[in-house]
């Protein structure tokens, strides 16, 4: 799955996801990716987020919505992502999940659980100049 947050030069935000889901799924099964608030969510007044991992578990927590709401309450994107993922850990400590989040000022962060070696994500802004691979250690 790819989940993406974009902010254009006018400051407009959008989020998106695209996936072919899990291998060997029961036919008809759909994960979190196409569900607003779960696979991705955006509020122009706050920011956006996109999740990846085990969609059957992720969709039970709406982590993208939660991360945006956390930023609305004043958390940084990094802290907001951590808190959203921590809710999953509490109920499903073995689930794999990760999230990227960005506020509408362009600050960004990420968090994950149960990804060996940490969670890689890709980011670019004018300061970075080029597409940059970053990685965050999991909770």
């Amino acid at each position: 799955t790819i989940g993406m947050v974009a902010i254009d030069r006018n400051g407009s935000l959008a989020v998106g996801t695209s996936t072919n889901g899990l291998r060997h799924k029961i036919p008809g099964r759909v994960g979190d990716s196409p569900i607003p608030g779960s696979g991705a969510y955006v509020d122009q007044d706050v920011g956006g987020a996109a999740a990846t991992g085990d969609g059957d578990i992720i969709m039970r927590f709406l982590p993208s919505y939660q991360a945006v709401e956390n930023m609305r309450q004043g958390m940084s994107p990094k802290t907001a992502a951590n808190e959203a993922i921590a809710r999953i850990v509490k109920k499903y400590p073995k689930a794999m999940a990760a999230i990227v989040a960005a506020d509408n000022a362009g600050r960004y962060g990420a968090a994950c659980i149960n990804i060996e070696g940490g969670f890689p994500y890709s980011v670019v802004n004018p300061k970075l100049g080029n597409v940059t691979a970053e990685r965050v250690d999991c909770l």
Binding site: T1, I2, G3, M4, V5, A6, I7, D8, R9, G11, S12, L13, A14, V15, G16, T17, S18, T19, N20, G21, L22, R23, H24, K25, I26, G28, R29, V30, G31, S33, P34, I35, P36, A40, Y41, V42, D43, G48, A50, T52, G53, D54, G55, I57, I58, A95, M96, V100, A102, A105, G106, R107, Y108, P120, Y121, S122, V123, V124, P126, V131
Partner: protein, 182 residues
């Protein structure tokens, strides 16, 4: 302080990031960038987790899910379980732009896509078919069934429901990993 514009995406799918960034740099909107970036992964079949010819289901079929949410309008366009059409994120944008709905599913999403001018075709690949054949040869392991018979840990289906056995539930969630995820 933040810096705009910005593109950030899950996993190290750098070509998707780059194409989304190029779209923004040439004056495209955030929604344009999402379509450009996600379409890149659909074409490149990123890690076989995005796009056509990946993640076969128990019948060997690949189906696609995609979603766009636009910040200023708070509108959503999405497709789920879409069959036989490759351009999932582009179809999701058609749902966003050309309907007042948010999510279309299954064969009806396919019918919508065809009506919007997308091609209906076989979206299996050599990789997805081999993955499926290997899975069947391995007694359909792993799979996501529980509380059914015959024992889904040792047998293929079809299955019938049996009395709930809590100790046998959710034991296979670790089959979701770096190369197999939503």
């Amino acid at each position: 302080r933040g810096i705009l514009p910005l593109v950030i995406n899950t996993w190290n799918f750098s070509n998707a990031t780059l194409n989304a960034w190029t779209t923004l740099s040439s004056g495209g909107s955030a929604v344009d960038a999402i379509v450009s970036g996600c379409s890149t992964c659909e074409r490149e079949q990123c890690d076989h987790t995005v796009g056509w010819g990946g993640s076969p289901d128990e019948n060997g079929e690949s189906t696609l899910d995609a979603m766009i949410m636009d910040g200023p309008s708070h509108k959503v366009g999405a497709v789920a379980g879409m069959r036989r059409v490759k351009d999932a994120i582009s179809v999701a944008r058609k749902v966003l732009d050309n309907t007042q709905h948010s999510l279309l599913v299954g064969d009806f999403a396919t019918e919508f896509a065809v009506q919007m001018g997308f091609k209906e075709e076989n979206i299996s690949s050599d990789w997805s078919l081999k993955t499926w054949e290997d899975w069947k040869a391995n007694k359909c392991q792993p799979n996501y069934w529980q509380n059914v018979e015959p024992n889904p840990r040792e047998n293929c289906g079809p299955y019938k429901p049996v009395k709930r056995d809590a100790k046998n539930e959710n034991i296979n969630r670790n089959l979701v990993n770096y190369e197999n995820h939503d």
